[in-house]
Symmetry: C2
Subunit: 237 residues, 2 copies
DNA sequence: ACCATTTGTCTACGCTGTAGACGTTACGCG
DNA sequence: CGCGTAACGTCTACAGCGTAGACAAATGGT
């Protein structure tokens, strides 16, 4: 074989033209499989069989690359603002987002921290789309726009909180996790942590979906109350 | 002045013995004033007027240093499990934690992401103390231990979510923020983001404490219901 | 077949965390 | 007091990081 045609000496040898989508998706794959800290310009370049510097044609810098990855992940979330039943909609979205987080646990830190470094007005459009769509949903359901914003905040706040909670207890494989947990709990000073130590057995089985669902129920009940009140107070008046 | 006594040529010249507390507290100060990325071993060493390598006597590596900082911050949270009124307790703690987050906004990313990288059993004790104390609180209030765990999760989940929410919209000084917001909103494609654009004015004034309080009310109402039900069902039986 | 523009590469710089060997100081004990 | 030991601090060095700037290669329109 003459080396003139395919100089792909290395096994990973697709030399197709790069594109932002390709860069971001392999970045995501890298993060999914090896964690956030594995996503370096050099490593990603090597993953794509390109010079690291070529990446800068598709992302201004590493931070922008991270933003691109979060945007890519959030695009996996499908929202259908047409559905008139806003409560079941919010419930479905919650579960979808939960599954999305479980699918990309290593991206969750980005999801929750990147917005902290970027003023709302300058965030990637993809990360604002869920906000817009949920606002639509709520306004169409009869909420005043400003109330819709409050509902959104309570809802999304709870949702993100739950995801963080669940991911803390999840981590890697349950086998090692359980062993580690027992070991760790045993290490706790019994005088200081009696409750936690006693909860050891309960801590191991954690039904995230159920816990989320039940939290959403509580929240929806509380959030729907003023809406119902407004409706009934408008009727008799 | 003979240079034999005080060779402190540089202005920041206290050459007292180091200690873990000193290292961590100046690390925290550095993070508070200049952000997370300013906390490098070299920079911290220079802040303490010491060789960067000396820090490794007090923290095994940079990750451990970050854990130490989070622990230090969480120690600012005072919980008094004696108070019999668990609802007002949880409400107070929520507001305390909110203020703590506003006092150390740059540490919040650590608060929410460090636990994701550390199995529960191996976390710094300081970060587990709030969990233990709130469990105590709830169990003393009459919850079954496993229910207490569920309540804790819903409560803390919401709390962390709210903090993330509020910090996203807060950021730096309101002046620049408002200008940026207007600019940013104006940039949004009107066809795609009509709701968000219309909410511009409302977005600027955000009463985090009120929003938190109201969310907590909803949550507490929902969480207390089963407890009350259990009490009344036990009486007639 | 040409040129212009986009895309990829190369080199180099200052920064990072930290391993390992080495002085230096402080402290307990005789 | 002095001595030995252990804790503390420093130095040097290395591999890896993000990325600026100059350059080569490829691509696509005319």
């Amino acid at each position: 074989m003459p080396p003139s045609m395919k100089p792909s000496a290395s096994p990973a040898g697709d030399k197709a033209r790069l594109s932002r989508e390709l860069v971001l998706s392999t970045a995501l794959a890298l993060v999914d499989s090896e964690g956030l800290e594995a996503l370096t310009m050099r490593r990603l370049g090597q993953e794509l069989n390109r010079d690291p510097m070529s990446l800068y044609r598709y992302a201004a810098n590493r931070a922008a690359l991270l933003d691109g990855v979060t945007e890519l992940v959030l695009d996996e979330l499908a929202i259908f603002p047409e559905d008139p039943d806003w409560q079941s909609q919010l419930r479905n979205i919650a579960h979808d987002l939960r599954l999305l987080a479980l699918r990309h646990p290593n991206v969750v830190p980005l999801l929750v921290t990147r917005p902290l470094s970027t003023p709302l007005g300058l965030r990637p459009l993809g990360t604002l789309r869920p906000l817009e769509q949920i606002l639509s949903l709520l306004i169409d359901a009869g909420f005043e726009p400003s109330d819709a914003l409050h509902v959104y905040r309570a809802y999304y706040g709870f949702l993100y909180g739950h995801i963080l909670n669940e991911l803390q207890e999840f981590i890697v494989d349950p086998e090692e996790n359980e062993a580690l947990l027992r070991l760790g709990l045993h290490r706790l000073p019994p005088k200081e942590f009696p409750r936690l130590r006693a909860l050891g057995p309960v801590l191991t089985d954690y039904d995230g979906a159920a816990e989320l669902d039940q939290g959403i129920s509580i929240l929806l009940a509380g959030l729907a109350a003023p809406l119902a009140a407004a409706k009934t107070s408008k009727k008799p008046q």
